[in-house]
Amino acid sequence: MAQPLVKKDDDQEDEEYSPFLGIEKGAVLQEARVFNDPQLDARRCSQVITKLLYLLNQGETFTKVEATEVFFAVTKLFQSKDTGLRRMVYLMIKEISPSADEVIIVTSSLMKDMNSKTDMYRANAIRVLCRITDGTLLTQIERYLKQAIVDKNPVVASAALVSGIHLLQTNPEIVKRWTNEVQEAIQSRAALVQFHALALLHQIRQSDRLAVSKLVTSLTKGSVRSPLAQCLLIRYTSQVIRDSSMNSQTGERPLSDYLEACLRHKADMVIVEAARAITEFSGVTSRELTPAITVLQLFLSSSKPVLRFAAVRTLNKVAMTHPLAVTNCNIDMESLISDQNRSIATLAITTLLKTGNESSVDRLMKQISNFMSDIADEFKIVVVDAIRSLCLKFPLKHRSLMNFLSNILREEGGFEYKKAIIDSIVILIRDIPEAKETGLFQLCEFIEDCEFTYLSTQVLHFLGNEGPKTSDPSKYIRYIYNRVILENATVRAAAVSTLAKFGSIVESLKPRIFVLLRRCLFDSDDEVRDRATLYLNTLGWDGSVGEIDKGVKEFLFGALDVPLVNLEASLRSYEPSEEPFDLSAVPKEVKSQPLTEKKAPSKKPPSFGVSANGPTSPIDAYEKLLSSIPEFSSFGQLFKSSAPVELTEAETEYAVNVVKHIFSGHIVFQYNCTNTIPEQLLENVVVIVDASDAEEFAEVTSKPLKTLPYDSPGQTFVAFKKPDGLPSTGRFSNLLKFIVKEVDPATGEAEEEGVEDEYQLEDLEVVAADYMLRVSVLNFKNAWESMGPDYERIDEYGLGVRESLAEAVTAVINILGMQPCEGTDVVPNNARSHTCLLSGVFIGNVKVLVRLSFGIDGPKQVAMKLAVRSEDEAISDAIHEIVANDEAISDAIHEIVANG
């Protein structure tokens, strides 16, 4: 409005002048009474609505009563013919979002506006009504909406189409009936109508691949007018390409010509969208990449920051998988290091770190050093991660790269940043032997002046493991003992443990370590004193123990081999008694998703894949349940319980799944049954198991379920005897038998008489993987080495044609049922070979480690080398048999070399 809401006569003197100065909710609500005046002052009303909207926009909230009052008052304003006021009324109704019973009040007014001659009324009324309506009203106005979609006024058509996109979420069946109109709207000459129609039509048909493919094919030939619609079409095209490449093995992608043509479009947004789509092809070839990279390279020197950003971000992604394709852009990229925009500069640097060759490393590091001081920590972390990968790629350059890391370690920085640097140095020390001594020294210097307790203890722990194995371990002692003098109790305790590790390994240092540890006996903190006493005794300071036996080393260096969550659960349920707590009784199965080592910089946690497993592991619950059943009490300790396997289709009358409980000499099937029919009560529910295809198993007992009322799950059990300690396999067919009684839905009472009935369930298999516990090891390399090659078995297998390397890796992991270590279950995109590390415990408590090396060649032939180490020769052979005999891959398997 032209007039400010408050009179401005004191001109610009007051800097903080605002038309809403001193505005107050109560007063404005009072003012809203003008809406009820018989003679409406349209201008005044508009002003009051603006004030209300201002309050809402500033975060003020209205109570339910206030909102209702305002809403009813506002509905009165439909009487006014003033168009400006009407627009504010529309806005206000959308902001208040009235409840269902209130909506009825405005429905007729809005429906009237929907049929108005004024385009603006029609368009806005559609948007408001669709925003606030529920499904019931929708059928009443559907006719008008269909008309509106093909309205000759583009604003009206767009309003109806966009509302359709929103409504599709809540009322898909209604919106799907508008397909004909929407299809007509796609032909509209108005650019945005075409855009909205295309978006809606695709949403309607998205589950129908063929229809989407047809739609895309026809539109890519025709003329799509607006750049926005063009961007949509590119998204849908790449989706069609993705879907179709699954089926065909031929090199040519359909529709890729269209995407390439889009690279020459005049609108930047279309070029970027197309270039990005091409770079994201799975298994993209360098011939496909070249034109896309050429246009992106041009954008790198654009005067527009947004365009530079879009280009460098896309190239950065390409560099992760195809570094060579991006090297042409290196010169342009280097000039971006000094870009005003820090997001662009960081992306440029990390790209260069990926594409750089060995000779350019030093020059690059110099440029980055200047740049590091003036970027935020979150960018620095990205750079540190990139430098770590670079160092692993060019181990010869470790000197300058490690130097860089130690320099930035000394500078100011927050915890996350410092932790990223420490993690990088630790990984580099582990993987590049030459970097070990310098790296350890850098860490020693770091803890001399480290403000983060967590990092100090982490470094001390690492020093304890690696330091004693260096050429001159004594030089680290000073740094470690300084911690005992200078730091807080947590760090002191960690330092004491580290000293003890040096003492246990380096015989010559032992007397001096004893002196230092004895000093720690006078520490002010309990934990520090306790540790010092413990270590002094285990290391034998009084000469009582001559040689340090293996148990001590195991105690000092061994990692806790049970998951902490399980240990915590067991400790909680432990009741003080004569019997001591037994660590070996803690279940070792890893239930929740293992934390994969953070190798690639990920900005946010993935939104999927985290299983919903709570902290209490289900295995505890199973153990409790089984031990409460007397028939099973003689079976001994539960070795493993499988995940539930569904034996029925979804949404059938009776839902049944089964859990396989493995004991040393027995197996128990727990059938979880749910009755989904409200009118039925089931009694004497039992599963008849036919084990004729499982020769080694003999049924010993079964436990029927007395009653199974509607929607309250119950269990029935069947137990089998099997050869003790052996991984017997077999197939079982299942038949559910029960007595059905009709239930009167009104009273909920069941009839006296029942009818016997049965229900066929799917077959169930016991496979070798059921005898394998997923148990992770902390350091696979150490575990592998300490296991030794005595019972190692190596063999090679051809897996035939597989969809992808990742698919083959996952299949083998599932067959073996073992725990992937160190994140090696993740196969990088486009990798041609991959090594996967697995660990587990086989029935009979035999530790098993597996190293799988995969390779894939052109026509997707996958070959695999399987190396097994275990504590038992027979088990190593058994693991090979599992792979060789597995049906899922056996048809492709033929042993190539046998050297086991």
Binding site: M1, G59, G84, R87, A199, Q203, V306, F309
Partner: protein, 178 residues
């Protein structure tokens, strides 16, 4: 994985201290008022020192892409998901920015914006509907915001919209010739 259609998560118009002039959220990423304010604060402080007066600037943080442009004591922001096409977001920003310029007849500052808050809010309403782009052409947005209030009530009462657009064009031409 990209969204099936380009979508905008929020549009913010803040003043030179980071306070709200007008904001509109379309996504549930910030469910509470506190979360919204925290996001605005972080956007404001992270972009404050940059010079986004001639060309729109861009920043990426917390998994969002924010494009922004400043004029006088007003800061314009458009936020999208981190897979969104930056150029599309920039087009939305430019549409909003230019439309406000037309509506306020190139007197773009906080005070004028607040005095014409009704038009700014209508303008936002015409650009995005529930996260979907409705219109990006500044003259069309400004036209839809004001054209129907030509009966003497509007802020452009002394001037018809076509005159206003003419003035604006002239103004632009002059600034280009400088």
């Amino acid at each position: 994985m990209q969204e099936p259609y380009p979508s905008v998560k929020n549009i913010l118009l803040l003043d030179s201290e980071g306070k709200r002039v007008a904001v509109k959220y379309y996504a549930d990423d910030w469910p509470t008022q506190a979360a919204k304010l925290a996001f605005e604060k972080s956007v404001f402080t992270k972009t404050q020192k940059t010079n986004a007066r001639t060309e729109a600037e861009i920043a990426m943080f917390d998994g969002y892409i924010v494009v922004y442009k400043f004029i006088q004591d007003l800061h314009f922001f458009v936020t999208g998901g981190d897979n969104e096409n930056e150029l599309i977001l920039a087009t939305v920003l430019q549409g909003f920015f230019d439309a406000v310029g037309l509506i306020l007849r190139n007197n773009v500052d906080k005070r004028t914006a607040l005095e014409n808050l009704d038009l700014i809010l209508l303008c936002l309403d015409e650009i995005i509907d529930g996260g979907i782009i409705l219109e990006t052409e500044a003259s069309v947005i400004a036209g839809k915001t004001t054209s129907d209030s030509l009966d003497g009530m509007s802020s452009l009462s002394e001037q018809t919209i076509s005159q206003a657009l003419a003035t604006a064009r002239e103004h632009l031409a002059r600034s280009l010739l400088k």
